[in-house]
């Protein structure tokens, strides 16, 4: 039976979602506005046989969750801008070594220390491109407490299924708001565990994909002994400088995500059937946009919303399909440069009328801000 409906905060829902997905290890460093995820993990994990660790910094936090994942525990961390910046190198290691883990980045207003308690959405490009070298990952962005819970479960599922780190790109608004929510009963949401090797131990190669494009992942301490390295590595996990191998490896890291693109990319559409104007959103600004299109429709303007639930890989086909139907596209986001707006322009072409709505002063985008761009 689902839990009784209760008042739950976004950050709490993220932690609860992680436990629902089977997370048993959290390592993190306190930082506003993500600290409640750590606090909830510190309270719950020792009760359920897991481990909570407060590390000396975010670099160590990211390292620890990779180690814990390889030792068999579903692992996660939570942070915000400054901490997320510190995590980049070890996050790149997790991508290269194909280690499942979840990184919650509660976006706050930057740059640098910025406005530590205020919301932002300016980490979109950092999430995708913040590390050196060729690599890719998955990022999901919640717009409500319910989505905080559900997308955290999804994030673990994607991480486990595709052997890739997944970033939950929340923002201070959803992380700190409280809403009525009823946590689903066990079994109600799908929970995926990583594929384990089944061949004879001496035949196991941790970086040789099966036909589905994903290699099974053993656990340190089992009968399957294996090597993991941040260096370029061959199918058996040992370092390998061969150019043909490097080309194969870099390709494989990308292709496994591209191959499952349709399973990974999630969007939500609101009132798009007859629209003349499309608002493309992600995260908390979705809520202002939905109120704005309701107001627009009451004034006779047919507007709709496309919410990018998956931010990376970018829902380009979905943007293209709906973008072709309208006279104008509005992209509200809490950053200066229009990080998603530029992507939307790239997808739809330079001749499409794209109105950007940007706020980067720590205050939130209101329905009126978006309505002004719709009209």
């Amino acid at each position: 039976m689902p839990e009784q409906t209760r008042l739950i905060q976004g950050n709490q829902a993220i932690a609860e979602g992680a436990f629902y997905a089977g997370a048993k290890f959290f390592a993190g460093y306190p930082i506003t506005p993500s600290s409640e995820v750590a606090e909830e993990s510190a309270r719950q994990l020792p009760k359920i046989g897991g481990v909570f660790m407060q590390m000396e910094d975010e670099i160590a936090s990211m390292g620890a969750i990779v180690g814990a994942s390889l030792a068999g525990a579903k692992s996660f961390t939570a942070t915000s801008g400054p901490g997320f910046s510190l995590m980049q190198e070890n996050l790149g290691m997790a991508i290269a070594a194909e280690v499942p883990c979840v990184i919650v980045n509660v976006m706050r207003s930057g740059p640098s220390t910025g406005l530590a308690t205020k919301p932002g959405q300016a980490d979109v490009m950092q999430i995708r491109w913040g590390r050196h070298g060729d690599q890719t990952l998955i990022a999901l962005s919640p717009a409500s407490v319910k989505e905080c819970f559900e997308l955290t479960v999804k994030a673990f599922n994607f991480a486990e299924k595709y052997r890739v780190p997944v970033v939950l790109a929340a923002d201070e608004i959803v992380a700190h708001m409280r809403e009525n929510y009823s946590i689903p009963a066990p079994g109600e949401l799908e929970v995926i565990d990583r594929k384990k090797p089944t061949m004879a131990p001496e035949l196991y190669k941790p970086y040789t994909p099966d036909e589905d494009g994903i290699a099974p992942l053993a656990v340190y301490g089992s009968e399957y002994v294996y090597h993991v390295t941040s260096s370029m590595h061959g199918p058996e996990g040992s370092s390998n400088n061969n150019p043909a191998n490097a080309a194969w490896k870099v390709g494989q890291l990308h292709e496994k995500i591209e191959r499952y693109r349709d399973e990974i990319v999630m969007t939500k559409e609101f009132a798009v059937e007859d629209m003349d104007i499309l608002v493309v959103t992600f995260g908390a600004t979705t809520r202002a946009a939905r109120e704005a299109i309701a107001a627009a429709r009451s004034q006779g303007i047919k507007a709709g919303v496309l919410q990018l639930v998956t931010v990376w890989p970018l829902p380009d086909l979905e943007v293209a399909r709906l973008g072709q139907l309208v006279k104008r596209v509005v992209v509200p986001e809490m950053n200066y440069s229009g990080q998603i707006a530029a992507e939307v322009q790239r997808i739809l072409g330079p001749s499409v009328d794209i109105r950007r709505v940007n706020k980067y002063n720590g205050t939130i985008i209101t329905p009126q801000d978006i309505l002004n761009a719709i009209k």
Partner: protein, 175 residues
């Protein structure tokens, strides 16, 4: 009965406004309503402007921020200046603490010495419960019964009794 309420609770950090907002939200959930509770805060744990917001609605709540508040609870002069300086001619009901603020003119400014009453009831921390009692009685945002249930969920033993006493005191004041 009004379907939607937008509530602002404002004062200074450490006055328990966020807990107040959460209790109102929990009471509304018991009545099957949707809620969004949010806050703005600075980097200090105590002091500074603090504001809790709550939207209660029978329907789905889209935008999460209060835009047109119809109920306010104000606990400092600074918060009054920031949030409700000219409420006299509006339809916003502004509840405020006359122990901490100067008296205001106007039918929709509703002042009671909440803090003083809390002290007289035996614990200054119960001032907010007195305020909640007054607010629910005068606005119907949630029922007295729902608030009682929330108090019993959150507190036990003498603490629960103390808070319930404060709530009833507020309800009686409003009557």
């Amino acid at each position: 009965m009004k379907n939607r309420h937008e509530i602002v609770l404002a004062g200074s950090g450490g006055q328990g406004l966020i807990v107040c907002g959460m209790m109102l939200a929990e009471a509304a959930i018991l009545e099957g309503k949707n809620v969004v509770q949010s806050q703005s805060y600075g980097i200090a744990s105590r002091g500074g402007l603090s504001k809790a917001e709550l939207i209660v609605d029978q329907e789905e709540i889209m935008f999460q921020q209060v835009q047109k508040p119809n109920i306010m609870l104000i606990l400092t002069e600074e918060a009054m200046k920031a949030h409700a300086p000219n409420a006299a001619d509006t339809d916003v009901l502004v509840f405020y603490d006359t122990t901490l603020l100067e008296a205001r003119e106007g039918p929709n400014y509703i002042g009671f010495p909440f803090t003083l009453m809390g002290r007289e009831l035996g614990h200054p921390g119960t001032a907010n419960m007195v305020a909640l009692g007054v607010m629910c009685q005068m606005t119907g945002v949630v029922t007295q019964e729902s608030l009682e249930a929330v108090i019993r969920q959150r507190f036990h033993g003498p603490a629960a009794e103390m808070n319930l006493k404060a709530l009833y005191h507020g309800v009686k004041l409003a009557q």
